[in-house]
């Protein structure tokens, strides 16, 4: 491959990763606040449908994105209210919403299947887009892709550099202590569930208006939500590491298309399901990396240490355990 092809490849990776990054960052925020929004796979589809349909009806991509984001937030609010205020199992509610949001999307979106609708226009950034290699890879996309890039930075700054971000990290660690300090852990969690849901909704809108324009059954975004949930863990609940995971995944997807061309003897299905065994393997490594016996055994294999260090994220201590007043 010459340089030109490589830049096309990486540009495809960056573009393809955009919705995954948005969803992963959204879920990272939510889980950092101590809440698991398991409904991602369904809410991405529902917001993708809502975004496409509104964009189609209003001829405005921007309105589509807004509605998509709001729909994502709405599903997140349901998960949050059920778990924080009604003390129901987050997993149960999230799972029901996964199935329900998907079916709702198929049902309401049915008349809009396979229609030619509006999509986001490319927006190369002047000057920057002309830089060799980096130009086409990072600066020759449309604005949802730029948004995904900017969000990584903003979220990292917010979480680790601002007092509000400190409170976000704190509420996922020990909601009782947050309460004792005069803040309302329930409201904080609800707020961050909404923030996370907005990003997930944007991810859905990005799918139906940019990455895989249009609506249908299947849309093509199916399964992304589960990938995003796995990537949050892979990223150790850190936005930058989670984004790296999203790029790796996108790289695998793009390479799958190439590999299929090069190695026709390997059936297509292998490439389609490859991310999932990899997800399990990553989770296995994360959990093993916290076991001393395992660490002692791999001490003789120095090459494996950086991997383990990279994967040794600790989940927020109060993840999935909402605050209960005494």
């Amino acid at each position: 491959m010459n340089e030109f092809q490589v830049s096309i490849l990486f540009a495809a990776v960056v573009a393809g990763a955009a919705p995954i990054i948005l969803a992963t960052l959204g879920e990272t925020i939510t889980e950092r606040a101590g809440l698991i929004n398991l409904s991602l796979d369904g809410s991405i589809l529902l917001s993708a449908m809502a975004a496409f349909v509104t964009a189609y009806l209003t001829h405005s991509v921007a309105v589509g994105f807004i509605i998509g984001a709001l729909v994502g937030a709405l599903v997140a609010v349901l998960v949050a209210v059920f778990s924080i205020y009604l003390s129901q199992s987050q997993v149960a509610v999230g799972f029901v919403l996964t199935l329900m949001a998907r079916d709702l999307a198929y049902f309401i979106g049915n008349p809009y299947s396979r229609l030619q609708g509006p999509q986001v226009m490319p927006l190369p950034i002047p000057l920057l887009a002309d830089i060799p290699f980096f130009g086409p890879v990072f600066f020759n996309h449309n604005w949802p892709v730029y948004l995904s890039l900017v969000c990584i930075g903003i979220l990292t700054w917010y979480m680790y550099r601002t007092p509000m971000g400190l409170a976000l990290r704190a509420v996922g660690e020990h909601p009782k202590a947050v309460f004792a300090r005069g803040m309302d852990p329930k409201k904080l969690q609800l707020f961050y569930a909404v923030c996370g849901g907005l990003l997930v909704g944007l991810a859905g809108a990005t799918f139906s208006l940019s990455t895989k324009p249009g609506w249908g059954r299947p849309q093509g975004a199916e399964g992304t939500g589960w990938i995003a949930l796995a990537l949050v863990i892979f990223g150790g609940w850190h936005p930058v590491k989670a984004a790296i995971g999203a790029y790796l995944f996108s790289f695998l997807q793009v390479m799958g298309i190439y590999l299929q061309g090069w190695l026709p003897s390997i059936p297509t299905q292998v490439f389609q399901v490859a991310p999932f065994p990899l997800m399990i393997f990553t989770l296995l490594l994360i959990s093993l990396a916290q076991k001393e016996a395992f660490l002692a055994r791999v001490e003789k294999m120095p090459w494996i240490r950086p991997f383990i260090q990279m994967l040794s994220g600790t989940p927020p201590s109060a993840l999935g355990k909402p605050h209960e007043a005494e």
Partner: protein, 363 residues
């Protein structure tokens, strides 16, 4: 997770139940009607077609029962894993692997003199296949510390990939490989059925047996007690000489085994071949069935029947009203959510009431 105790209801409790049930139903009907109006469909017609499409004739009812059987089998299996506090989301893949193992066995019996033997064997193989697939997720959980939800989910996608590979690869139909699945088996390898309804009594009997066995196991066997105890507090159970991980694997195997049998019935009783969509989402749906049944084994068959009616009835929607059949899923999800909300609301109200009486007492 609340595990309902079986208590004999008094008249007052019955009245409360009816009131709450009515409230839940009203919420769901209102919501569904809203969804139908958004989709621009006549709600009353839609409900009518669902009813007619599910219970309108004996043939329709037999279709419902064909859906009821795998739902009930999976539901019964899930009770074991829920009892011990595991979220066996991998049940979908376990159904698929049951179907794969059943197909494998039946393929071996293609030119056999005794097809009935292979038919019988296919059930054992399917239970084994589903059970082993569940065990992988179980070991990932107990030995590897991987959350069973992610392990199960990953395994579902792998199972789906495996089925696609088999259909397009080694087991493809002579000439063309397509999404319509493998070659149809000869009738000798079909599960015997009542020809007018194309319904196999053996399948019904299996589902009923599964419910009865599960009820007895959970109520009267030591295994059932241990599952409940470990689900309540696995740490304390070590003190009682139990090994929680063993019981987790056991529960996974039960669930996987039942799911595998459901997969086998899909192959030998319904489709007579392996399809990409062989599991028809019944595993995922069964999770909702069990939640809506409040984890009570005696309620599972009824909820499963209702869900089956919705699934079969909504097939009419695309034909009669040009709507998508996924309305069934919307109603089912809304039902579970509304039930959770109503029970939570009841809990909150009881708490507020208690606080008020205490305040009055203190004053």
């Amino acid at each position: 997770m609340t595990m309902a105790q079986i208590t004999s209801p008094g008249p007052a409790q019955l009245l409360k139940f009816v009131r709450e049930f009515g409230l839940t139903l009203t919420v769901v009907v209102l919501f569904t009607t809203l969804v139908l109006l958004i989709a621009g469909a006549p709600p009353l017609d839609a409900y009518f077609y669902i009813l007619k499409g599910s219970l309108g004739s004996w043939v329709k009812i037999s279709h419902v029962l064909k859906t009821w059987v795998p739902l009930t089998l999976c539901g019964a299996g899930l009770l074991y894993t829920f009892r011990i506090g595991l979220w066996n989301i991998g049940i979908e893949g376990q159904v698929m692997m049951g179907a794969v193992f059943a197909t494998l066995t039946l393929r071996l019996g293609l030119n056999s003199q005794w097809p009935m033997w292979f038919l019988g064997l296919s059930f054992a193989a399917a239970a084994l296949g589903g059970g082993l697939w569940a065990l992988i997720a179980g070991f990932l959980k107990t030995k590897g510390g991987v959350n069973e939800i992610f392990a199960g989910l990953g395994m579902n996608f792998v199972a789906q990939g495996l089925i696609l590979w088999l259909i397009f690869g080694p087991w493809k139909r002579p000439g063309v490989a397509s999404m319509s699945g493998t070659e149809i088996f000869p009738q000798s390898l079909w599960l015997p059925y009542i020809s007018s309804l194309r319904l196999s009594p053996a399948a019904i009997a299996l589902a009923v047996t599964a419910v009865l066995i599960t009820a007895v196991m959970l109520r009267y066997s030591r295994i059932g007690l241990c599952l409940k105890a470990i689900g309540g507090n696995s740490q304390a159970c070590v003190l009682y000489g139990l090994t929680p991980t063993h019981f987790m694997l056991l529960a996974m195997m039960f669930a996987g085994g039942f799911a595998g049998i459901a997969g086998c019935l899909q192959v030998s009783g319904v489709y007579h071949r392996l399809l990409p969509a062989i599991s028809s989402n019944y595993g995922y749906l069964a999770l909702l069935v069990v939640m809506l049944s409040n984890y009570n084994v005696w309620v599972v068959p009824f909820v499963a029947f209702f869900f089956a009616c919705l699934n079969v009835g909504s097939i009419q929607l695309p034909m009669m009203l040009q709507l998508d059949s996924s309305l069934a899923g919307v109603i089912q999800g809304a039902l579970v959510l509304a039930t959770l909300a109503v029970s939570a609301w009841r809990g909150r109200r009881a708490k507020i009431f208690e606080a008020q009486t205490q305040e009055a007492v203190a004053k």
